[in-house]
């Protein structure tokens, strides 16, 4: 089947999509956007978190056909509104605080943090923990991720 999705503001078409393919597979393998990660493919780890029509979801749990005609925003689109060669403040804060080690969880956490700060520009630690509880990280123990969220929030206010 043919699937048409507006990805990071640009209309994209994927042909010959098998009905069992997920949105994550189409993004990664058909549209050249491997930033969203495939760590569990059952919605437990949050590494594939993307916006679907402005609402965060796990791209692995969305059938590609369900995304047809809709709008998807991924980690690759986060810095679109930053200046040329610049990062979004959330991305910049993750790099600066050491919240990135292996980095496999990072794209999902960035999208989830982006979403959190859009809803709540000044979350406290408990609110951050609750908002990011769907994103597993195996390297950092989360402390520097919390630091990164606070730093990004300060800079975005």
């Amino acid at each position: 089947m043919r699937v048409t999705i507006t990805v990071n503001g640009e209309q994209r078409v994927a042909d010959d999509v098998w009905a069992g393919e997920s949105l994550l597979y189409v993004l990664r393998e058909r549209l050249g956007l491997p930033g969203s990660k495939n760590a569990c493919e059952q919605g437990e780890c949050g590494s594939c978190t993307v916006y679907l029509d402005g609402v965060t979801c796990c791209a692995c749990l969305v059938a590609a056909g369900q995304a047809d005609g809709r709008s998807v925003d991924t980690v690759e689109g986060l810095s679109h509104h930053a200046g040329e060669g610049e990062l979004h403040p959330v991305q910049q804060a993750f790099v600066e605080t050491g919240a990135v080690q292996c980095g496999f969880c990072t794209p999902g956490l960035l999208v989830a943090t982006h979403d959190l700060l859009a809803r709540d520009p000044d979350p406290d630690d408990s609110e951050i923990r609750e908002a990011l509880a769907g994103n597993l990280c195996r390297c950092t123990g989360y402390e520097k991720i919390i630091e990164a969220v606070h730093l990004a929030a300060r800079r975005m206010r």
């Binding site: 760590a39 493919e41 059952q42 980690v75 690759e76 991305q91 960035l110 509880a133 195996r138 989360y142």
Partner: protein
């Protein structure tokens, strides 16, 4: 020297971003923009997808394999079995006992039996289902102790014992005024790195292959892949793909040979990516342990003797079990001075999933037993948990159970005393916040039935490879002037697995060569081996190699300048884009001196040698260096429901020298969290040799809600034998955090909990 997590006020040597600072990691921007290419992100035109057919049985004979229907499937390019392995049919890190593809028997559930390559991953999966394997199912051996009994079925030609380590010192029949003992068990933990096993094998058109793979040690992989393919190292080139975490789980081969076989067979690039379920079957796990410990002491709590019997379940193949047994045996009594010792540590083959390397490597399991016994002893003699550790802890000059004298800092007493001095978190007496209570937002308690407990534990870990292993690394460093600016290129094969080694390589070059711009070359087998990104060793060993290569390049440059200027090289040094004299004045610019020349050297570097242990007594200078860490855990336990909330997990660790203070803290926080996970929730559950929870739905790792604040004090007592005085960092905190959490739960509940992970039913007594 002590007490800080950030380096301040130190005199800078070398260019900005050198040793002791925390510059940004060079791969950070790619990782936050989604452009960093992990193994699973690789892609080529005309690429095929490979999948693995695995045994559903933990023990069976293979009577027949029929691939006819699978081969007929449209879109399938190859179906391979052991018949298609052209070289050695078995591989392994220490013993070559594991089939590339099963030959006549399978010894664990998940053992690879056949491979399929197809133009779509789903086509390959469907075709694999059409492979017909006739099995004669056998009764699996599932208990490590029973596997060593004389009447157990023998799983390998040389029997079921992988290794037995004995430690014997002092009086063989000691007695003591106070004796404590207990039996302890540790469940099977998974590394649960987030990036599943993955890689891309690309045939070169002349019978060779390039393999891009996520791994921990390119050269040990290359050696094994070459043997299986029957090709020389010039025909099998490995390059590190982006690695999504490792923690020991990528020391053994996964898709390496399989991908290459399919690529060479089809003449097309082949990508293999395990999904999470397959990942649980596709790598080794932490050895489950059952341990009997008995410690004797005098009435003042000074240890007189220790007896321990440790059984580690190695599963179906040896992997790194011999070395894990070595660690658990030689270091399994904790960082305590004990004059009379009797230890037996066994690793056994069973039909359970193969076990091998995981962060902490044998020391994690024994620490749960040792630290519980030390708390028991403290109670028996009326001391508190800190005082018993202060009284018995190693210090510089102590003798380890192997007879090795510890010849650098061993600040056990200071580590626990500093923890005790750290402020305790306040009781949550104020506003009700479910997120801070056991059970969290599940709203299972409003504080009723909740008891607080505090527990301490201390750990030590050998850094780098032990027991006489030739443990070296290779570094190639090049200095050139590009557009009037000096640029250093550093090339090693050391795997960046997330820990930040690429940053450390840059920092060392900046410090040694005074050049700010340092390029880290891609990690591949075009340079000599760096050894494994394991055993907390890369900053020490590859760091040592990079430093030595830089020093060699510096000597060459200064000698050349000295010759040109007609002065003594000893009066010159490097400074940014120039060679300067002893007054700091520019003697010659690097652009003038080098022109278009490059100065390059490649150095193989070794830490001081280690030695095998005596097979009868376990005596010998087996280890290079020890790392020390301690934890204090504060927990709230809902004793009615058995739910635990870790309120705070404080750590003190001696790192010798914090080469990158931010990364050091990151290692401690991440390691502490993994240790806590084993104490509370992480266990691969096995029933009759079968994994019942191979998913992130059922195998739980700590989320951000489960993980507490982690205050840290980093000590820097230089090890005079190590580069910059540094100590390996990554593993020690994984060892002491779990035992501290277990101790805190015992303190909260009054229960003698002897098994981890501690399940709710262990707390409520309803099991």
């Amino acid at each position: 020297m002590t007490g800080t997590t950030e380096t301040t006020g130190t005199t800078r040597v070398g260019a900005p971003g050198g040793v002791g600072e925390s510059p940004l990691r060079p791969d950070g921007i790619l990782k936050v923009t989604g452009e960093f290419a992990y193994g699973s992100d690789l892609w080529m035109d005309d690429m095929l997808w490979g999948v693995t057919l695995r045994s559903p049985h933990p023990s069976a004979r293979i009577l027949k394999v029929d691939i006819t229907e699978a081969l007929r499937t449209a879109g399938v390019f190859a179906v391979l079995t052991h018949d298609d392995v052209p070289g050695q049919k078995h591989f392994g890190l220490e013993h070559q006992d594991q089939p590339v593809l099963a030959v006549d028997v399978v010894r664990y559930q998940g053992e690879p039996v056949a491979l399929v390559a197809a133009d779509h991953p789903e086509t390959a999966r469907q075709a694999a289902k059409k492979i017909v394997v006739d099995y004669e199912v056998l009764e699996p051996v599932v208990d490590a102790r029973k596997a060593l009994l004389p009447d157990a079925p023998q799983l390998h030609p040389h029997g079921n014992l992988v290794r037995h380590v004995r430690i014997r010192t002092g009086d063989p029949h000691p007695s003591a005024e106070v004796v404590v003992s207990g039996d302890y068990e540790v469940g099977m933990q998974d590394q649960a790195f987030l990036g599943p096993e993955s890689g891309l094998a690309v045939p070169d058109g002349t019978g060779g292959v390039d393999l891009y793979v996520a791994t921990q040690w390119l050269h040990v992989d290359q050696r094994q892949v070459c043997a299986a393919l029957g090709l020389g190292p010039d025909r099998v080139r490995l390059r590190l793909a982006g690695v999504g975490g490792a923690f020991g789980g990528r020391e053994d081969l996964s898709m390496h040979v399989h991908g290459c076989l399919l690529a060479l067979h089809t003449g097309k690039p082949v990508k293999m990516v395990y999904n999470r379920e397959e990942s649980f079957f596709g790598h080794v796990h932490r050895h489950p342990a059952s341990m009997h410990y008995e410690y004797g002491a005098d009435r003042d709590g000074r240890l007189v003797y220790a007896r321990a019997t440790i059984h580690l379940d190695g599963g179906a193949y040896a992997s790194s079990t011999p070395a894990v047994v070595g660690n658990a045996g030689t270091m399994g009594l904790g960082p305590y001075e004990i004059p009379n010792i009797h230890v037996d540590c066994y690793g056994a083959y069973t039909n359970n999933p193969p076990c091998g390397a995981m962060r902490g490597f044998g020391s994690v399991q024994t620490a749960f037993a040792v630290e519980a016994i030390m708390d028991k002893l403290a109670e028996a003699v009326g001391l508190d948990p800190v005082e018993i550790r202060v009284r018995n802890g190693f210090h510089e000059g102590s003798t380890a159970p192997t007879g090795q004298v510890i010849d650098s800092a061993a600040p056990v007493a200071e580590l626990v005393q500093r923890l005790r001095a750290m402020p305790l978190p306040p009781d949550d007496g104020g506003e009700l916040d479910l997120r801070r209570l056991p059970g969290g937002v599940a709203n299972t308690t409003h504080g009723e039935g909740v008891r607080r407990g505090v527990g301490y534990a201390v750990a030590y870990k050998n850094v780098a490879f032990s027991e006489g292993f030739d443990d070296y690394s290779t570094a190639r460093v090049r200095l050139a002037v590009v557009g009037h600016e000096p640029v250093v290129t550093v090339h090693t094969a050391a795997a960046e697995v997330g820990q930040g080694l690429v940053t450390v390589e840059q920092q060392i070059c900046r410090t040694e060569l005074e050049v700010e711009r340092v390029v880290v070359a891609p990690k591949d087998t075009q340079v000599g081996s760096a050894g494994s990104s394991s055993a907390s060793r890369q900053t020490y060993v590859t760091g040592g190699a990079v430093r030595a290569a830089c020093q060699s390049v510096r000597r060459t440059v200064l000698a050349r300048a000295a010759q040109r200027l007609g002065v003594d090289a000893a009066t010159l040094r490097l400074a940014g884009d120039a060679v300067v004299d002893d007054l700091g004045a520019v003697a010659v610019t690097l652009a003038d001196l080098l022109g278009t020349d490059e100065v390059e050297d490649t150095v193989e570097w070794r830490h001081r040698p280690t030695y095998p242990i005596d097979p009868e007594t376990g005596q010998g200078n087996a280890h290079v260096q020890y790392a020390f860490a301690a934890h204090r855990a504060v927990v709230d336990v809902d004793v009615e429901l058995g739910l635990v909330k870790v309120v705070e997990l404080a750590c003190t660790q001696d790192v010798g020298k914090a080469v990158n203070p931010s990364a050091v803290v990151g290692q401690i926080q991440g390691g502490s969290t993994q240790g806590m996970g084993l104490a509370l929730m992480e266990e691969i559950q096995i029933v009759a040799g079968r994994i019942t929870n191979p998913s992130f739905t059922d195998y739980l790792i700590p989320t951000i809600l489960d993980t507490p604040p982690m205050p840290i004090e980093v000590l820097e007592y230089a090890d005079p034998h190590a580069p910059y005085g540094l100590r390996g960092v990554g593993e020690a905190p994984t060892i002491s955090s779990g035992p501290a959490v277990a101790a805190a739960i015992r303190a909260a509940t009054g229960l003698d909990l002897r098994r981890v992970p501690i399940r709710p039913e262990d707390v409520t007594g309803t099991r």
